[in-house]
């Protein structure tokens, strides 16, 4: 690899990191669900418990709130404020049910963490009970729970990026191969404000490399379609762009939900997009078909519940498809 090529790789990676920081966090709070951050080890009391019992339990477990629940059904919450008022008012021996909060704001376990953060912002509570789809109490979430998991996930992400960047480019393209460029763009679900930016950046890079206009257009079509597909249909993912050995590759990877019938999805005119998506001009069902049509090599693999990877490659030697 010549010195110019090394510079190209170094500078592009740095820029991607800076642009991607905020998106990584946004993607995380969309991808992580409340069930991923909640405390499952619940400390609860039954309806017959007294405020004194709640006070002792809070002290033993270093917690500031206790759900009153029986057989998975949530009846209310006693907070440390309730205990302070009971001590002050001289009714600490009364049952929790007479003083607990019953107008509860709850989270559902399959809500994204972004919802939970919104709840903490909008309602000034220290914790929210979490219910399953069949309304059973399954956990409790505090801001501390979210911070703990976010910190862990961000560390994992940093480690992943470090591994990716410290790995020699040769790892990706084989011995003796020449890597001229490697870019990775995060794509966030329903982020239409930024949709198309990755494809535009790829087009700009190709122009800088002096790639012919017609070929640039073909690659831009694939990049745009795959970027929009991640944005519209997936839970989020990344669009990678690699130029090596005279071949440009666009690879779209997402984190789910996967495609049930890949063959059907690749047919022109087939789409699972809803009316809202269609009203924005997307969901014509041409994305994968367009990509396949313009690429020299096309491959797609998908696993339900896990995600989809689409690969499109283009020869840069000027040979027309």
């Amino acid at each position: 690899m010549d010195s110019q090529s090394v510079n190209a790789v170094g500078s592009t990676v740095r820029k991607t990191e800076a642009e991607g920081d905020a998106l990584v966090v946004m993607e995380l709070i969309q991808r992580l669900k409340v069930r991923d951050v909640m405390t499952r080890n619940l400390v609860t009391l039954s309806r017959s418990a007294t405020l004194r019992e709640a006070q002792l339990l809070m002290r033993e477990n270093h917690i500031s709130g206790i759900p009153i629940a029986e057989n998975g059904r949530l009846y209310g919450i006693v907070s440390i404020d309730d205990i302070i008022q009971a001590l002050d008012g001289g009714y600490i021996s009364e049952k929790c049910v007479s003083r607990m909060s019953t107008h509860l704001i709850v989270l559902e376990e399959d809500m994204p963490v972004s919802f939970a953060l919104g709840f903490f912002e909008n309602y000034k509570y220290g914790r929210f009970p979490v219910l399953s789809k069949d309304r059973a109490l399954v956990g409790i979430v505090s801001q501390r729970d979210i911070s703990r998991v976010m910190l862990y996930e961000l560390t994992q992400e940093i480690n992943r990026l470090e591994r990716q960047h410290t790995r020699a480019p040769e790892d990706r393209v084989g011995e003796g191969a020449q890597l001229y460029m490697l870019r990775e763009f995060p794509v966030v679900k329903y982020d239409f404000e930024n949709a198309g930016k990755a494809a535009n950046e790829i087009k700009r890079l190709l122009r800088e490399q002096g790639v012919a206009a017609r070929l640039t257009r073909r690659i831009a079509v694939a990049a745009y379609e795959l970027e929009i597909n991640i944005c519209v249909h997936s839970n989020g993912g990344t669009l990678s762009f690699v130029i090596s050995n005279g071949v440009a590759e666009v690879v779209a990877r997402d984190t789910g939900p996967g495609i049930e019938n890949v063959e059907w999805a690749c047919r022109d005119g087939t789409s699972t997009a809803n009316e809202w998506i269609r009203s924005l001009g997307f969901g014509a069902g041409m994305g994968l078909a367009n990509t396949k049509r313009v690429a020299d090599k096309f491959d797609i693999s998908s696993t339900l519940g896990k995600g989809t990877t689409v690969y499109a490659a283009f020869r840069l030697d000027g040979a027309e498809k």
Partner: protein
């Protein structure tokens, strides 16, 4: 077709500022589906559409479209206008529907492609 000829033919009003109206276009394409525009619109075109959304500009930038003619005099949101000015794409509002606008441009081009 110069930009000014396109505007006159569509009885349009420019939405974007800072326009270099000495430019010209050689083609036109009519569609409301962005994938269709992306895959099939010729370079150097006017796009006739009712899509008044920011993403239309992203597609025009990629597809080499120079003018977006927004039909039915639909309002153009500020973020779309800002993106167009940033990317050097002109936006024109026309009172015509897509069919009428296409016919007028076809006449200006000297007939169908």
């Amino acid at each position: 077709m110069t930009f000014e000829e396109v505007r006159k033919s569509l009885d349009g009003v420019w939405v974007t500022d800072g326009l270099d109206d000495s430019q010209s276009v050689s083609n036109a394409y009519t569609s409301d589906l962005l994938s269709d525009v992306m895959g099939n619109a010729p370079d150097d075109s006017v796009l006739v559409t009712i899509q008044n959304h920011l993403n239309t500009i992203a597609v025009c930038t990629l597809a080499g479209i120079k003018i977006v003619a927004v039909c039915h005099d639909r309002d153009v949101p500020q973020d779309m206008k800002d993106a167009a000015e940033r990317e050097g794409v002109a936006i024109l509002r026309t009172p015509y529907d897509q069919f009428s606008a296409s016919c007028r441009l076809s006449e200006l081009c000297g007939g169908a492609r």
